[in-house]
Assembly symmetry: C2
Homo-oligomer: 319 residues x 2
């Protein structure tokens, strides 16, 4: 009988969360360690090994793990390497898959965090039964995982699906961390929403609850809270964000004609504040053959488990 | 032994070209009929049947045809239907695959013309051995066929790959035949080049060879001829076109990370006049991880055979 459990590991800039998952997507147990604690990657893997070995013993799954799936920034499914990455404390390129696999004696597959989320959504979440969809993650940046005909799109080099870096504004666009200007993620990430708030507050004179917060400390959560309290400028910030996102979704549709977009990440929790203008803008900008045909769905993965579940689903593919 | 020949049929607005092709991509014989001659589709299929039956007899391939592949505007691979189409004289939706298959007693597969070209290029042309590429066809419009991991992308409804309709200009964009404004094809098709010529000549005062032609009759071929004769405005028109196309190719790369773009169609014959600004713009606008990694290649299909070869390659998939 094949081994009935997988391990999912989500390596974030601050925490590394990991758990043991069964075939139905139940997280048997999970735990975490601090990503930044070890500047030597081998020390980090030692701690991960100690903690995961305990977790396996506690759950009676020792020797029963089919594979380990890892989601990490800039992780490449094809090469098993983490390429240059500003958010992790170790030298790159880093042969992540090989080192972890050697340490545990278990097959390892890795991919970037947005792709892991897409695999999780397809296996356990809102995209079950949907063969063509695009996962859009709205966090510090804008990430994406593209699924076509039931398969994740990796591209010829493993880096496909960087939809946060399509150009939304070709003139006077905002400077992006990638060095170019006008990228989608400079407008539609959590940080993009905070930037829009600062721009709106500086240009305009109307009163706003957001004026009670030092302008450089405003977060997307503050904008959400103000909008929920009825603040007009805060609502407009969501309209502006949703409008740009909807334009982008209409453009993505002419590429792969997905059945649905799945929206994931902190900003996705803004609900109709964001979804209404996003949906309206997508429909308004949509090529006629797709009007009314493409759904926008919120992620259905439980937030606490999402990262681990997504990574663990990849564990089934490890070999 | 399985049947060693296929038929390729390319249904264009003016002519329908068809031929018999072997496993190596040699066109044994080809012929054509006038698409517009019959307003009743059954009469059209009767003539097609008569002519193709002759062609099979002449080449000794009667009874040896594995399948028929058809490329036609707005033809849907999944449904076998041609959906609404302004360029064909018959009522739509038209069950093209079923009618042709019934008439010939041979399996038929259909797809749109750009997808057929992509399949042809993958099977016989510049994309042999390339598993991830995007075919861009520059003709009256801008079409595309997207291949990911060796498979053509049809999307959830069979209409994926309408890259001529991504929005290149979000403000003051040109009106497109699709009813929206700013679509890529309003700038980078043959008609787009002619529109650019008219705009440039109206706004500016410099002399130009193009001023010898009535402004409403200028074609992309005229612009090409003038540029080759050293005309400065004509060269600028190609720079402008290539620049917009390169911006679009950089955006397409973040989606599927193709190894190459294959450029096909009338305008592709402009060579370096178009390819140089297109390549420069793509590199300038490219996200850094792909700089210098994505090739732009001209189609390698012989022009006279391209449409038939592309459609015929689909014939191997017919069942």
């Amino acid at each position: 009988m094949s081994k009935p459990y997988v391990v999912g590991i989500d390596i974030g800039g601050t925490n590394t969360v990991f758990g043991i998952v069964d075939t139905r997507g139940t997280v048997l147990a999970s735990s975490s360690i601090k990503t930044l604690k070890h500047s030597d990657f081998n020390d980090y893997v030692d701690e991960l090994h100690t903690e995961l070995t305990k977790l396996m013993a506690d759950t009676g799954t020792t020797g029963q793990i089919h594979g380990i799936g890892i989601g990490a920034p800039n992780a490449n499914f094809f090469t098993g390497m983490v390429e240059e990455c500003a958010n992790l404390p170790w030298p790159t390129p880093l042969p992540l898959a090989r080192i972890v696999s050697d340490k545990f004696g278990i097959p390892v597959a890795i991919t970037n965090d947005a792709n892991a989320a897409a695999i999780g959504e397809m296996t356990y979440g809102a995209a079950r039964g949907i063969k063509d969809f695009i996962m859009i993650t709205l966090g510090t940046g804008v990430g994406s995982g593209i699924v076509i005909n039931g398969q994740l799109v990796y591209g010829h080099d493993g880096f496909a699906g960087e939809l946060g870096h399509v150009i939304s504004k070709r003139t006077n666009g905002r400077l992006c961390g990638c060095g170019r200007t006008g990228c989608l993620e400079t407008y539609c990430s959590a940080t993009g929403v905070a930037r829009t708030a600062r721009e709106f507050l500086e240009i305009r004179n109307e009163p706003s609850l957001l004026r009670n917060i030092p302008i450089d400390e405003i977060t997307s959560k503050d904008v959400y809270d103000a909008a929920m309290a009825g603040d007009a400028i805060a609502k407009e910030i969501f309209d502006y964000t949703g409008n740009i996102l909807g334009e982008a979704l209409a453009d993505f549709t002419v590429f792969s004609a997905p059945e649905a977009f799945i929206i994931f990440g902190g900003l996705a929790k803004s609900g109709e504040l964001l979804f209404r203008p996003m949906r309206n803008s997508m429909e308004k900008n949509m090529l006629s053959i797709w009007k009314g045909k493409v759904r926008i769905l919120p992620s259905e993965l439980k937030e606490a488990d999402a990262a681990v579940l997504g990574a663990s689903a990849l564990g089934w593919e490890a070999k």
